[in-house]
């Protein structure tokens, strides 16, 4: 048992925090409250520091650290509500490609991702509820060609991306494709998410792809997509963790300064107790998140899935409770856009509902649990 970071990991954490904090003051973030939530200068800075390639293999231009280390960067991005696409690019994009792409694809894309030269964005979500395996985007094969028909939803940064990594339902199972974002037949409808991020609905109208644009198909694809989804869930929890920690700490400091009735409002028991409940939430949530991140690298797919479900359920519950406690305990100040808390609260809601929410995942975990116990009976 060991809950400590390695020295290297601590270095990554400190470096990430330093760079992100420099670029994410309230003033700087305001520039991204409208329009694309992407700071290209910060992204380049992260690239220069090697952080975009933290967990990309050295042979493809990265630093070759593990997923756990990448999640430290993601957590810092949460802590700073930084306008950079770490999950959709580095986790669901680069890590997925690294694990499941062939060497040619990796060689052609990953070094440019690590150097910040090109942006790879994953588009997995569909209009219907979350799930690893796609159902509405259909891929039909004819000879050496594929034809794509259907939709993807809630894709951030799609307009800025050079490469899109997408999942689809093929005749014989799932499949994974990579295509340029200006592919013919691909249309993007822009929306704005609750956190103010532009998200796109992608519609594929008879999009023609070459066989070499297919990253993965056949029996292995479904398991791969489950694994990728788990990585995305674990990383989303890490981002939510950073967000919750800041909401909690900000609340503690604000209530320790703010006076009403001639005393610090923190000295009202109701205030202190509610903040303490949030602290307990964040501690529990931190541990299940760390476990999920560990499990996706070190445990069986089934155990990893359960760990990810548990962590994401906690993310939704803790995110909701900590956010509302923070808003409540701040009084009016919490919703004033000149004070930094509001972005965290909106991000907490957005992440709560991304890649599955607590209610649906609780049912899914129940199904998994039932299956496990039924199987145990048979064995």
């Amino acid at each position: 048992m060991n809950f400590e970071l390695t020295d290297d990991q601590r270095d990554v954490q400190v470096l990430s925090r330093k760079i992100l904090e420099d670029y994410c003051t309230n003033e700087q973030l305001r520039r991204f409250d409208q329009g694309e939530r992407f700071d290209p200068i910060l992204w380049q800075e992260l690239a220069t520091a090697g952080l975009l390639g933290i967990s990309i293999d050295e042979q493809f231009g990265g630093m070759g650290f593990d997923f756990e280390t990448l999640c430290l960067l993601v957590e810092e991005v949460g802590r700073c509500v930084a306008p950079v696409p770490v999950i959709s690019s580095l986790v669901l994009g680069a890590v997925a490609l690294q694990r499941f792409g062939n060497d040619d694809v990796k060689r052609s894309v990953l070094p440019d991702v690590a150097s910040g030269k090109s942006l790879l964005i994953a588009a997995f979500s569909e209009a219907d509820h979350a799930g690893a395996v796609p159902t509405t985007l259909k891929a039909t094969r004819s000879g050496q060609r594929w034809q794509l028909q259907g939709e993807k939803h809630f894709v951030p940064f799609a307009k800025l991306a050079q490469h899109l990594l997408i999942s689809a339902q093929a005749d014989d199972g799932a499949a994974l494709f990579m295509l340029p974002s200006d592919t013919e037949g691909l249309r993007m409808q822009q929306h704005t998410s609750t956190a103010g991020e532009h998200q796109y609905a992608l519609s594929f109208n008879n999009v023609e792809l070459d066989d070499n644009q297919c990253v993965l198909a056949g029996d292995k694809a479904a398991a791969a997509l489950t694994e990728i989804n788990n990585l995305g869930v674990a990383a989303t929890c890490a981002q939510m963790l950073g967000i919750c920690e800041v909401m909690l700490r900000t609340t503690a400091s604000y209530t320790s300064e703010r006076e009403q009735f001639g005393v610090k409002v923190a000295t009202f028991q109701a205030v202190g107790q509610r903040a303490a409940d949030s602290y307990i939430d964040v501690e529990c949530f931190r541990l299940v998140t760390q476990k999920a991140i560990y499990a996706v690298e070190h445990e069986s797919p089934r155990d990893a899935l359960a760990a990810c479900l548990i962590a994401k359920i906690w993310a939704g519950d803790a995110g909701h409770r900590v956010s509302h406690a923070a808003q409540h305990l701040h009084g009016g100040m919490g919703v004033d856009r000149d004070y930094p808390l509001w972005r965290y609260c909106l991000w907490a809601k957005q992440l709560e509902l991304t890649l599955g929410n607590s209610a649906e995942l609780t049912e899914q975990l129940g199904e998994e649990t039932a299956a496990e116990f039924k199987q145990a009976l048979h064995n």
Partner: protein, 394 residues
């Protein structure tokens, strides 16, 4: 017992529903759907409000001697609830709180201009209570009003003065005796927003709703614009807050979202060919929402009934306020879960109206737990007045 509306009340409800349907012209609907206009103030909003005035709805609950119909609390609740259901930004604080208080306590001049204007639906009043240093501890307010000859001169700053950007007046609490105990040196004034020395700057909130910091620099008011006795303002404020609390938690708006989400889930097929509503967890969420809503509805009904009978207990208003405001947050959450990630998209011409409504509601709902009398203090009131427990320290 009879835990439902009477035949007359049901008829009234239907009549109000029909009335509001025709009030909602396509132009009004379009105006309110535009970003930034949800809180009212546009020409169509003004037109509809004048219509409500002309048709006698604004004065519905006011005492007869003040020109009202003296409708029962239940009838008034029916109206409030139906109008909130439509999403019309009805200025409750103006019509239910400031208006009747002014009608009772203000000078002839204020009654002729402000009160009559409110009754005609031509006047909207913003509430100027909170200050940077006086939130929950409202009585700590420091905005000063000093007597100079027959006039008053007002200096100070208010914060969170909502609707000031289109209001005609601010209902202002100011300190007139800095030496008296804090509750005993406050007086109420009506400040025209076009008065010299009045200014404001916008505060944008998490919910995209605008509110304001308002500034009062040597504003000179005739004594006629004072309301109630000098240094007796606290009673006017607290009388008004009690009325405010009830209109905060009517169940209509929450129920409307529940009905729309349930209909949507029953109509929408997921990729596997089954309806969204067939999922176990969706049914569970709907049942939880329904369970919570039922209690909220009954709490509100009973309160309106008790108001009519004159038996409303002090703890009851606090029960409704705490339960209602905290239930709303859980309600939005559970409904958003059912709709899924689409519920996190902001309203635009390409998103479904239901999704946009949910997203907007959840984002503007969080302020109710501390606004209108914070829930901690409401809980203290419940423990004290409801259970006779010794009061904690304030």
């Amino acid at each position: 017992m009879q835990i439902e509306f009477s035949a007359e009340q049901k008829a009234l409800q239907q009549e109000i529903k029909r009335y509001l349907q025709q009030l909602f012209t396509p132009e009004l609907t379009a105006e309110l759907a535009a970003a930034g206009a949800e809180e009212g103030g546009g020409p169509e909003f003004r037109k509809a409000l004048r219509q409500l005035g002309a048709d006698g709805y604004i004065s519905m609950s006011w005492p007869k001697e003040l020109g009202g119909k003296e409708a029962s609390a239940i009838d008034q609740y029916i109206f409030t609830e139906e109008i909130i259901r439509t999403g019309f930004p009805y200025p409750f604080l103006t019509t239910e709180a400031c208006g009747p208080v002014m009608a009772e306590h203000a000078s002839e001049e204020v009654r002729e201009t402000v009160v009559k204007g409110i009754l005609r639906g031509e006047v909207v009043v913003a509430i100027g209570y909170s200050e940077p240093g006086a939130g929950t501890d409202l009585a700590a307010l420091t905005t000063r009003a000093e007597k100079e000859g027959d006039d008053w001169v007002i200096n100070g700053q208010k914060i969170w003065t909502s609707l000031a950007e289109y209001s005609d007046y601010v209902w202002l609490a100011a300190r007139t005796d800095p030496n008296a105990p804090k509750h005993k040196g406050i007086t109420m004034f009506v400040v025209p927003t076009n008065a010299e020395g009045f200014s404001m700057s916008p505060i944008w909130t998490l919910g995209s709703v605008r509110t304001n910091a308002t500034f009062y620099e040597n504003i000179r008011l005739k004594d006629e614009w004072r309301v109630g006795e000098v240094n007796q303002g606290w009673k006017l404020i607290t009388g008004q807050l009690n009325r405010e609390r009830l209109s905060l938690v009517t169940h209509g708006q929450a129920e409307e979202l529940y009905l729309r989400v349930a209909r949507w889930a029953a109509n929408t097929e997921s990729a596997n060919g089954k309806k969204i509503i067939d999922r176990g967890w969706v049914k569970y969420n709907l049942a939880k929402v329904r369970t919570g809503l039922e209690a909220l509805k009954l709490v509100c009904w009973k309160q309106a009934w008790a108001m009519d009978k004159g038996t409303l207990q002090m703890a009851d208003a606090s029960v409704a306020k705490v339960y209602g405001t905290e239930f709303f947050l859980e309600n939005y959450r559970m409904l958003m879960e059912i709709v899924g990630q689409a519920s996190t998209l902001r309203r635009d011409e390409h998103t479904d109206a239901l999704m946009g409504a949910l997203e907007h509601r959840y984002r503007t709902g969080s302020i109710l737990t501390f606004g209108g009398g914070t829930n901690e203090v409401q809980r203290e009131i419940i423990a004290g007045a409801g259970l006779w427990m010794p009061r904690g320290r304030l």
